[in-house]
Each structure stands twice: as structure tokens, then as C-alpha cells.
Symmetry: D3
Subunit: 132 residues, 6 copies
């Protein structure tokens, strides 16, 4: 039995707030790009991803973004999402050094090509942020 | 040009100290188990993995273990190493809650089976630690 | 904006009904096994996985299980979940032949070892079902 | 012992017919693009992939394409082939809705980035088909 | 057009001969284990895998087994097949040193856990061979 | 205890020599591209990857490049590095046929899309080499 009677639109609103806290530009861009293929999936990203998982206690947003960029760098097959989360990592206060260190460390767990492709993604995202 | 003249055995000693700081039992077990198949590879684990990467500044050991368990949970094909690092994560001061939250979050990036298998690995490691 | 005001516990109840329709024994076993490590994650499996995704229109349950066993066979790193879904596939009415054909086809997309390990998982699950 | 005395060129002809039934344009394009690097591999694609696996009884072509797009979306490392098979899925009669639903479901098994990249591939292929 | 009129059973016989040349015990064991789940797939393993691919000119059997153990070690999700091919690598004349070196090298491309799990598989297979 | 007192800069120099032996242009390009994001990681690529692993006895450089292109083709998520190593494979004396054969063989272990994407990478690299 689940006793949580929170309505889905309230979870969604919390998720939207959390997503925009993490990355307002890139977040909105992903949501927009889904509108003509699957607006329901955009809702799930916001509701489940951000209103539920990213809104949980137990880890700071900095820890959550560190975990996400570690995982996406290691998997090596989701470069667009890795770039979004490198930007998000900067937004929530991780330093460029912390991001670079995470990628270097992935060479030990997922190999040097995964680390290299993570570093090149970081280089591109940092360049955009440094120009702002 | 690299100007670092540190000898390999000094890097190795720093790595050995770092590995034992992270997980003395499991670390020694891995090193021992490699002696009759490839002692050189045990040296690389200690020298490169711990004497170089894990000894770098820029991330705390807690951040390093968080990144590692995120990556290994997401990859889903290295359960023995994931278990070692869940133990190491506890040793360097991450809480059981932080580890569980990391695995829950991996459901968003690598799917529910990856998160489930991470949680089951954590359950097993926590059980061993709780009995100590 | 999301206008859906359905409360989470109603989504959960729909998910629980759907999960038990798909596989009552294995479903309950997974939920039970999560209780002492992360009951919240068990709630997400039921709410998001079954109350939301598996409760959508647009695909029959047979199509959904076919897609799931194809994906898990191809990924090759989630054997426990693959076995659960082979059982679920039988429960929703896919034949043993349809399951075997799906695995054979995965040799083309993910290689012969993935297909072999899928077939061996099927063999084990079919043996259990044939004895009932 | 295998008693099947069918000659390879007959298997190949059946495969060629099946491939063109599934996707005449994209199929021919792949075959053509292999001619100056490995024409033998083009023969294997047609003979083994289409003349043997895709010509088997036990699954409809719609089921086969559903399984393929599920697997390629989940694996996330074969976008060109995923796009070919999204087109093929439409050609054999799967609806845009069935394809989108399959990708949404992959979020549960392979994570949200895999589902997102699958949906973006579908969006691109649908746009081309809708213009025809 | 394919002009090759070789009948499938001749391809199969060449494959069977090649498979037994590579690994008679393990090869037969895999074929046997498929008989009650998918004898057709056993035929494909022999016909396509060994009668076509492994029977091609251009690489020696030693090069083929080196490539296979590199790939399976890097993928990390097919340990039973990796063990079969470590045995096969020894059978076609690769030395234990060449196999161990291949696994060490995989640490650079797929990470240390992949290399470790490859070395542990090699240790197990070598132990069996050394006792013969 | 490790008794090797070789200083890191000597290992690095050996690695640099080995890297340039394998691929002087692409090697230098990778090192250069890391200078403004992580020069330390460039040092690790040279020191660990080439000064330690690629400088070991036990495998020829041709065997090492064969193993690497097999692994990267099978993994399918590191196309830039795969292209570098296809060039390196040619440089150390593997023939275009040996490279193509390795990729064809990967269809058996990692699926036809992985082999196709490997062949297309080879086609591109060969075209550049043939024009020199």
C-alpha cells in the first residue's frame, strides 16, 4: 500500500522547479523538443526524474550531478545528455576541476576513450559557459 | 615533456597507502588474487588507480567513491568491483542512505534493472558491514 | 503545465494491479526483496514502471513484453530481470516460440553471445513453467 | 548433421526480397555503401540477417521490427541502424504511436537518455516520412 | 546478385570442422545445450559463425581468437563465452602470456574492472588446462 | 612491494616514443587537444597507455592494434578513438584486409550494427590513407 496522496500535477510542479534550478535553458530546450514527438515523455522526465528522484533528500544536488556525469561518461552512449549535465553540474556549484577530475577517474572504470570523450564534452560546455 | 621525476615505486607506495585507506580487506584480496595470473596488473591497479588517480587533489575520497559506485551501477557488468566499492564508500564515510540514493538515481540514467542490481549488491554489502 | 490531478496512491494501485497481471509471483518477490534496502524504490517500480508506463495505451501487453525481452537480451547485463520478463511474457500470452525467435533475432543486433545467454535464460524459465 | 541443401544464392535471394519488403531505399543504401569496403559483409547482412533470421516463421515482421527498435534504442550505440529500422517499422505497418510507445518504455529498462535519443531519432525519421 | 551455389549443409560441415578445430569439448557442449531450446540457433552458430566467418581467409585462427577475447573482455557481459574462447585461444596456439597481455591492454580501452574480470576468467580456464 | 625505481618522466618518454611509432599525427592531435582541458590526462595517456601497457613484451604492436580495434568496434561507443586506431593499425603494418576481417568477425560477437559502424569508420580512414 502506498499512502501518498500527492496529485501528479503537484509532483510535476516540484519537478519543474527543480529542473529549472538545475538548468533552466537546457531543461526547457529538452522539454520543448519533445512536444511534437511525445509530450507525455517530457512530463515523465519532469515528474519522475526531477519531481521524484532529484527532489529526494539524502544527496545534495552537487552529489546528484557528480553521480550523473560519472555514469554518463562511463556509459559513453549519451553525449547530448552528458553535455546538459555538465552544464547543470556547473549551475549547482561543482567546479570545472571537480568535473574534470570525475572524468579522469572514469578512465579507471570505463577506459581511456570514455574519459577522453567526457573531457572533450566538458571542454565544449566550459567554452560556452566561459563566454557568458 | 614531463618533468615529474618521482620513481614508480614511490607512486606505488602512495597507491598502496591510499588503497588500504579506502578498503584494506577487499584491496588486499584483489591484489592477492592476481598474484598467480598477473602480478604486474596488480601493480598497475595500485600505481595508476590509487597512486595516481585516487591520490589526486580536486575531489574528496567521498566524492570519488560516489562517482565510482554511480558508474559501476550504471554499467551493470562489474558486480564484484561494485561490491568492493560499496564497501569502500562506507569506509570513507558515505552513509548507507547516500549509497542507496545514488543507486535509485541510476534508474533515471541506466534503467531500473541497473538500479535494482545495484541495490541488491548494496543490500549484501551492508549486511556484511552491519554484522561486524 | 500538467493538469493531471490523479493522486500518486491511485497510480500506484493501478501499477500494482498491472504488475500482478503481468507476473504475480516474481513481481511480489522483487517488491519484497526491496523492503529492507529501499521500499521507496519498490514504490517507483510499481508507480512509474507499471502504473504509468505499462498502463499506457498504444501497445498491447504482449508487445510490451516482447520489447522488454528484446532489450534485456541485447543489453546482456540484467539476467535476473530478463528471467522475470521471460516469465511475464509467457503470462501475458506470448508463446515459447515467440520468445525464442526474439532471442535468435538478437544475434543480429547484439551478437551471438547475447542471444545464447538469452536462450539459456529462456530454457531455465521454460523448465520451471513446464513443471507447474 | 544439417540436412538443408538449399544453396547460399537461394538464401540470398530470399533475403534480398525480404530486405526490400522491409525497407527498399535504406536497405539498398546500406548494401551500396559496403561495396567498396566489404561486399562480402553486404552479402552476410542479406543472407544471414534477412534470408535466414528475418525469413523465419514464429514472429510477424511487425513483431521483428518492434524487437529491433527496442534493442537498438536500449543499446544506444547504433543510431544509424536505429533510424533505418524506425523507417522499416513504419513500412511493415507499425504506427508512429507504437514506435513512440516502445521508446518511452525503454526509459524503464535502459534509462531516460536512451529513450530520449530514440525519440529524437523517431522524430527525424517521421519528419522524412510525413513529407513523402 | 550472389553467385555462390554452395549448399547450406556444406557450409555447416565446414563450420563443424572449424569449430572442433578451435575447441572440440566446449564447442560440442554449447551445441548440445541448445538442442532442447533452439537447435536452429546451434545450426546458425556453426554455419554462420564458423562455416562462414571463422573460415574466411585474411586472418589466422590465432588472430581471430585474439580479437574475440579482446572484444568479450571489453564488453564484460558474456563471461561464459569469454571462457570458451580463452580455451579456444590456447587450443589454436596462443600462449597464456598473449592472453594475459590482451586482458591487461583492455584496462586502457574498457576500464580496470573489465580487465580484472577477464584475468579472473583466464585464471580459471588456465587452471583447468594446466591440470589436463 | 614494487622495486621498480624508474622515474615517471622516463616512463613518459618511452610512451611518447611508442605513441609516435604507432601514430605520430593522430597521437599528437589527441595530446594537443587535451592541453586546455586536462594536460594531466594527456600525460596519463602517454605514460600509462603507451609507456607502460603498449611498451610491454608479450604481444607485437600488430597484435595490440588488432585487439584494440576489435574491442572498440565491439563496444561501439568510441568512434573517434576507433578511427585513430584504424590508422595506427595500418601504421604498424596490419593490412586493410586484416582490419576489415576483424570488423566482419565482430558481427558474431557484438552484432551487425557494431560491425557496420566499424566498417564505415575503416572506409573513412582508408580513404584518407589511400590519398596520401
Amino acid at each position: 500500500m502506498l499512502h501518498n496522496t500527492e496529485p501528479l500535477n503537484a509532483v510535476y510542479q516540484r519537478g519543474q522547479k527543480r529542473l529549472f534550478e538545475v538548468d533552466s535553458h537546457a531543461g526547457q530546450a529538452v522539454i520543448d523538443s519533445l512536444q511534437d514527438i511525445s509530450p507525455d515523455f517530457a512530463d515523465y522526465v519532469i515528474q519522475f526524474g526531477f519531481g521524484q528522484v532529484y527532489s529526494r533528500a539524502g544527496l545534495t544536488l552537487q552529489q546528484r550531478e557528480l553521480a550523473t556525469i560519472a555514469a554518463l561518461t562511463a556509459m559513453g552512449n549519451a553525449q547530448p545528455q552528458l553535455k546538459v549535465h555538465i552544464g547543470a553540474a556547473l549551475n549547482v556549484g561543482l567546479s570545472q576541476t571537480e568535473i574534470v577530475e570525475t572524468m579522469i577517474q572514469m578512465s579507471v572504470y570505463a577506459g581511456f576513450p570514455a574519459a577522453l570523450n567526457g573531457l572533450f564534452a566538458a571542454k565544449e560546455v566550459f567554452a560556452g559557459h566561459n563566454c557568458e
